[in-house]
Amino acid sequence: MREIAASQITDTVAQLCMQAAYCLPDDVVAALRAGVEREQSPRGKAILRLLLENADAACGERTPLCQDTGLAVVFADVGQEARIIGDLDEAIHAGVRRGYTEGYLRASVVAHPLARTNTGDNTPAVVHTRLVAGDKVHLFVAPKGAGSENMSALRMLKPADGVEGIRRLVLETVEQAGPSACPPLIVGVGLGGTMEMAALLAKRALLRRVGQASADKTTAALERDLLGRVNATGIGPSGLGGTFTAMAVHVETYPCHIASLPVAVNLQCHAARHAEAEL
């Protein structure tokens, strides 16, 4: 067994929270740059340039890219040969607490959905832990702003709804979000599984490198089809008109029940923040 101290996990999560908030990942920067070329609206082009300038300034000055530094969503893939000395869950929350406090990030979490008192340190995080092969711990921090999260959707379609039903839900979700979700978007689609599985697939779809096609041919074709349609909505950067409404559509699938076709659509704003580390 390889031993990993909980304090090491806390330190890493704290660093990842700050890194994610300040510096847009390279793949997202590259996708936005490509967008400047592809966008047909002059205003859309100007907005994309502004977003690139913002990303540059934020990373250089260690200022958050967006004031909504999000709810910290943490994916922890824990190797079954690793032994964590201490409480894993508590270590992750402690890392979020430290990262958000020391990094001057916004506390955006309320303790109860109805009472709505701010917890003051952005905890608790939403943690998805998986036991995997090996002796490493892989941590993936993806702060999620509410602008795009609020516009996401899940529907239990009938198998007969098929591709047409999926298209309708994706387009309906993107159109309803319009400017509020801060396009250009990454559209994460979770297809199959059960209700909660579809939502998690959609979230995980956002972790993929921007524009990397699915390894499955049918799924990759669906991704291209959906991206073409999303970019025909006219919404454009910041919703002020244009042809670059989404950088990518990522679809993740899982087998499902003979009677089911669960579909989740998780929208990601252009500030597609994430940072990862392996211990």
Binding site: R106, G178, S180, R229, T233, G239, L240
Partner: protein, 190 residues
């Protein structure tokens, strides 16, 4: 695109009348920073017929919940948040003299009608450009509801803050119009 129009707060009736959906503007002067929780409190006071902690006459509200400032900084990152969440409260605030709002995203029909009725304007800021937009905020001070932390009401002094007129007082809607220009129906449904 034409040259941006420079406007200074508080907004006069004349300022509002000449703005057209789609205009680019640079806003300077004092605005109020407020979002969800502060709106709810203001709305409840209005409904109860009580005095507000801030005067709304001619004012512009910027929907913003900034990140904490680093030592010595005026403010942290400070971009616009989704305006639609403030829709249920907005007509009541416009009736109290509010003239403008800065946010992102489309507004409800009731708000667009209220902008016509009370002669107000809604500006779209660029969501997610918070590090850059913060540079256009020269002063920031919490003036009401400090217990709301990032959601407190702030007095903000803007300098050439860039925005686009999304909804004017004449019924114009830049978000709707811009989307139609670039919409390709055949690719959407084909």
């Amino acid at each position: 695109m034409s040259k941006p129009i420079r406007i200074t707060t508080p907004l006069s009736g004349e300022d509002v009348e000449r703005l057209q959906a789609g205009d680019e503007v640079l806003i300077s002067g004092v605005v109020l920073g407020a979002r969800d929780a502060a709106h709810q409190r203001l709305f409840e006071l209005i409904q109860a017929g009580q005095r507000l902690p801030v005067d709304l006459e001619g004012q512009v509200i910027y929907y913003v919940g900034p990140t904490p400032p680093r030592p010595g900084a005026v403010i942290g990152a400070a971009g616009p948040t989704t305006a639609g969440r403030m829709d249920p409260y907005t007509p009541a605030l416009l009736a109290r003299g509010l003239k403008g709002m800065i946010g992102k995203g489309t507004r409800a029909r009731e708000v667009i009608e209220a902008l016509r009725k009370y002669r107000g304007v809604y500006f779209a800021g660029i969501g997610g450009a918070a590090a850059l937009l913060a540079k256009h905020i020269k002063e920031a001070e919490v003036i009401a509801y400090p217990d709301l932390a990032t959601e407190a009401i702030r007095r903000l002094v803007l300098e050439d803050f860039p925005a686009i007129v999304a909804n004017d007082c004449h019924g114009g809607d830049a978000y709707r119009d811009a989307r139609e220009v670039y919409r390709r129906e055949r690719e959407l449904t084909g």
